[in-house]
């Protein structure tokens, strides 16, 4: 059974599904929702087979598929996963199921909506599994197309500005990566990521290549100061779009840094780690304050995402400072593990928070905090979930939000007290904006008639929020399976990046 080309199936089944859904939709609109759900569930089921068959004791690439794609340039259709990509693929297929369920009530062109999401998730799976740099780039760019349509067709009033901004920001960043990849190809003769990771070249070109990667992935993460597209995109996107954007798409930036920037240009990364750390700390602290000032719930969560993604980039680039300070590698892996855990955890929590806002928005059609108050009185069950997720967002121990942040802060102590100090400040800020939002929206007297007439969760919403709550708590209470899954790959990465590649 495990001889199946699972990664190809995971990529192409949703694409085929999207085509069928889009084609059927014109004639039988009632069929598309169940059909899309079946495709998403099948894909999720197949991705569980990956988890079952995955050997967590090795850092080797597994489930490898390789055939020649463009012979003239030695480009391969090359897929494979290791401990870094598997959790993200699982997250992606799970979120896909949830957004399909979440979009059940879409009435404007539902077949295109479902098809766009299936396509988007398929491309993201392909991207996480791509082991050829050009194949990665193709998936990386191609997914802009469905997301552009999702925000532009089903988004809010200012959706066109938001979606064009989203597209152009990401496109602008990534073209520099294209130049860097081409340069690497001309220098090494290969687009294979594994070979590029072994390719030795001098510090100055490394710095240029590193900066190109950094621009591409920093826009995606997004890091301060190229984050400005995210609040716009989040606010205008439909709920499903926001969920995917926060839960999976932002992780692509972090994943790209782990897969490309760190191992291909380790010397430049060590040289310029101060830059990334500084930008991360600014994101964590400054954007934390910005989040505090928001009056729109989606915008607040968007800024909170930027701040939390700051932890990811911080964790990724702490390793060099730790190795310099302590001279050993044991602590260096901690930051990387923490960053990866934080990515997965933020995927659940931010996705859940956007779904929660979506639940309110569906009923009241407002995202303004001031339009609510005392929601807990009319929607007690919903309030329970929402408070859990906002607590998790502020890093409550026992939830997944705590694990990653704690690991990164711990690693930051090894690097420098002041890094840790600044990073820990976010725990206070995060708690401040999360809990203040909870207080204003959920607690207190019932603010107005809209809130008074609210109905509590229906079965569909229960299902989505329960799944995410289970993962948030499960990962918080017992993160070991996830960390174990990634451990060999992280160790391998640490050893790799500590060796100079200046030939």
């Amino acid at each position: 059974m495990l001889d199946w080309p699972l990664l190809s199936l995971l990529t192409w089944i949703p694409i085929a599904g999207a085509v069928v859904v889009a084609a059927l939709g014109q004639r039988s609109p009632d069929l598309v929702r169940p059909l899309a759900l079946i495709v998403a569930l099948a894909t999720f089921g197949l991705s569980l087979l990956l988890y079952v068959g995955f050997d967590a004791t090795t850092a080797q690439m597994q489930f490898v598929e390789k055939t020649i794609w463009i012979e003239a340039f030695n480009i391969h259709y090359h897929l494979g996963i290791d401990g870094l990509s598997l959790p993200l693929i699982l997250l992606n297929t799970l979120i896909c199921v949830l957004v399909i369920i979440g979009g059940w009530r879409i009435t404007d062109r539902p077949h295109q909506y479902m098809a766009a999401f299936l396509m988007l998730h398929a491309l993201m799976t392909g991207m996480f599994a791509a082991m050829d740099a050009l194949l990665f780039y193709v998936f990386f760019e191609a997914m802009l197309v469905p997301m552009f349509l999702i925000i532009g067709i089903w988004g809010g009033p200012n959706r066109i500005y938001a979606t064009v901004k989203f597209f152009l920001f990401t496109f602008f960043g990534s073209v520099f990566m294209l130049i860097a990849l081409l340069w690497l190809y001309l220098d090494s003769g290969s687009f294979s990521i594994a070979e590029l990771q072994q390719h030795e070249f001098g510090l100055v070109p490394q710095i240029w290549v590193f900066l190109a990667f950094l621009i591409a992935f920093a826009v995606k993460v997004p890091m301060w100061p190229v984050h400005t597209w995210l609040p716009d995109a989040h606010v205008e996107a439909p709920t499903g779009g926001s969920v995917v954007l926060a839960a999976v798409m932002l992780k692509i930036g972090g994943y790209g840094l782990v897969r490309f920037a760190l191992p291909i240009t380790p010397d430049a990364a060590a040289h310029l780690d101060w830059l990334v750390i500084a930008l991360s700390l600014i994101a964590i602290v400054y954007i934390g304050f910005v989040a505090l000032a928001q009056s729109d719930m989606k915008k607040l969560i968007a800024y909170s995402s930027i701040s939390h993604m700051g932890f990811v980039t911080l964790g990724l680039f702490l390793a060099f400072a730790i190795a310099r300070n302590t001279g050993e590698l044991t602590g260096a892996g901690l930051g990387l593990s923490g960053a990866m855990v934080q990515m997965i955890s933020h995927g659940f929590i931010s996705g859940a928070m956007f779904l929660a806002v979506g639940v309110l928005y569906d009923r009241v059609h407002s995202r303004e905090i001031s339009a609510y108050g005392g929601v807990a009185n009319t929607m007690p069950w919903f309030a329970m979930f929402a408070v859990l997720f906002f607590m998790a967002n502020s890093g409550l121990p026992g939830t997944s939000g705590f694990v990653g942040e704690f690991m990164v802060i711990l690693a930051a102590f090894h690097a420098s007290f002041w890094f840790a100090f600044a990073a820990a400040a976010t725990l206070i800020l995060g708690a401040a904006y999360s809990l203040w939002l909870v207080k204003r929206v959920f607690y207190g007297e019932v603010a107005n008639d809209n809130v008074a007439s609210l109905k509590d969760l229906d079965g569909r919403e229960w299902l989505m929020l329960t799944v995410l709550a289970v993962f948030t708590l499960g990962l918080g209470l017992w993160p070991y399976p996830l960390i174990e899954l990634m451990e060999p790959s992280i160790q391998n990465l640490v050893e790799h990046i500590m060796q100079s590649k200046i030939g």
């Binding site: 012979e71 349509l149 520099f176 294209l178 081409l182 001309l186």
Partner: protein, 477 residues
């Protein structure tokens, strides 16, 4: 002149004969049965394609014929085959428009076939004379095509402009050729190349001649600063003529550049490279920036053409095999993409009114979802977004430029590609995010729809399976 030589030129001879047959046959075909002329022209192209494919499959390298004035090589065969295929699409698209606008006459087919013949002669040109002969045959037919709607003032104005400026460009080119001839004493491209390699010719004379030749090429490509005619002619000509001008003649311009600069003047490559850098950079920047400001979609696509020709020049200027192959790939792909884009405009043209404003595309996704999807793919392909084939065209030329050390030019190219993405996205935005002003469904004949579908899906298919076309282009050099 031997039989073997005639066989090499069989496609040209066939197209010439058939162009005459179409011209004569059309006289005896009544207006109701004008479809026959169309069928005859399409059949001509199909058979020409078979003839060229047979030559392409035949083993052997470059062969010279007719006292070295004619070159038969793989580059020429491949390019000709794509000319036929694209022209079939152009004919099918054009028929729908010509019928609606009362222009369905045999002249269109005869002139197009003569233009094709000119293109073929140019593609296979082995001497400065055949280069000029082919070019003039192509452009004279094009002038007449632009003025095909005699009652249209706009069309006549465009034809006049095109004629005056085009003649001047031909004059420049001819003057450049005469200087090269004066300096090297030969008209054959191979002899010119050999003479230059042996150090013959006064350098001042050669440089001046080269400047005129490059200017002529730049005009035919529509590269900045010799681009002024492009928006006016694209705008003024009837849609099917614009469609024609943006497809086959672009392949001819590529052949013109490769035959003259590579086959003939490769020894002067250090000189022409600098000129092409300026042309490429200006075209990419100006084309993409000015396109943003257009509200007329024909003008927008005209400026988009200018920017794309900048990319073609980017592939040509390193003067490497990889670069030529990339430029060839780019030109072929561009011709297919722009044919599809203009076809959608033809489809949207109602009786008496061309769809030429961007607003005419509003809400197309609701009026005709399938063809809106085709247009979406065409636009993303033009913007250079993977997995569409336009991306593979762009990255190949950029790879070629990078490998020749033009890092800053490559960075400029990708930045202008981002700027360019904006106006292609605007088309998608109009189709998908806006509501239609006119809710009438868009209809087109079956053959039109079929060709447009193939054209749109080709963006995806040629992208996913780009390896084949890339190998074909690489093996041409």
């Amino acid at each position: 002149m031997t039989i073997a030589e005639l066989q090499l030129a069989l496609p040209e001879i066939f197209v010439l004969s058939m162009a005459c047959v179409v011209l004569l046959a059309d006289l005896f075909i009544s207006d109701q049965r004008r479809g026959l002329t169309h069928t005859l022209a399409v059949v001509t192209l199909v058979f020409a394609a078979i003839l060229s494919l047979r030559l392409m499959m035949a083993p052997g390298e470059e062969v010279l014929a007719f006292s070295d004035t004619f070159i038969r090589d793989r580059f020429g065969d491949v390019l000709k085959v794509f000319c036929y295929l694209i022209l079939i699409g152009v004919f099918v698209y054009a028929k729908h428009y010509l019928r609606q606008f009362g222009l369905f006459k045999g002249e269109f087919y005869t002139l197009s076939l003569f233009a094709l013949l000119g293109t073929m002669v140019l593609i296979s040109a082995g001497s400065l004379l055949t280069v000029y002969l082919g070019l003039e045959l192509l452009t004279l037919a094009s002038y007449a095509l632009v003025a095909i709607d005699r009652k249209s003032l706009q069309g006549s104005e465009a034809a006049m402009k095109y004629f005056v400026l085009g003649s001047m460009a031909s004059g420049l080119l001819l003057f450049g050729m005469s200087l090269i001839f004066g300096a090297t004493g030969s008209l054959d491209l191979n002899d010119v190349s050999a003479a230059l390699a042996s150090g013959m010719g006064e350098s001042m004379l050669l440089t001046v001649g080269l400047v005129f030749i490059v200017l002529g090429i730049a005009f035919k490509l529509g590269a900045v600063p010799l681009h002024m005619w492009v928006p006016d002619v694209y705008h003024g000509a009837p849609l099917p003529i614009t469609l024609f001008l943006s497809s086959v003649p672009k392949l001819a311009a590529l052949a013109l550049a490769i035959r003259l600069l590579d086959n003939g003047l490769i020894e002067l490559h250090a000189d022409w490279q600098g000129m092409l850098i300026v042309l490429a950079a200006l075209s990419m920047v100006l084309g993409n920036v000015v396109a943003i400001a257009q509200t007329n979609i024909k003008r927008m696509l005209a400026y988009s053409t200018i920017s794309h020709m900048g990319f073609v020049l980017l592939g040509l200027l390193p003067a490497t095999q990889q670069g030529y192959a990339a430029a060839m790939f780019y030109a072929i792909v561009y011709a297919i993409m722009s044919a599809g884009a203009f076809a959608v405009l033809i489809m949207l043209s109602n009786k008496g009114a061309e769809a030429e404003n961007l607003d005419d595309l509003k809400g197309l996704a609701k009026r005709n979802p399938w063809h809106a999807l085709m247009m979406l793919m065409l636009m993303f392909s033009l913007a250079g977004i993977p997995v569409f084939v336009g991306f593979f065209a762009k990255w190949q030329v950029i790879a070629a430029a990078l490998s020749a050390g033009f890092t800053w030019l490559s960075i400029l190219a990708v930045v202008t590609a981002v700027i360019g993405a904006f106006y292609y996205l605007r088309v998608v935005k109009l189709m998908y995010f806006d509501d239609p002003e006119d809710t009438e469904p868009v209809a087109a004949p079956v053959d039109f729809q079929a060709v447009l579908t193939v054209n749109g899906l080709a963006m995806l298919g040629l992208g996913i399976f780009s390896g084949g076309l890339i190998s074909l282009c690489v093996s041409s050099f």
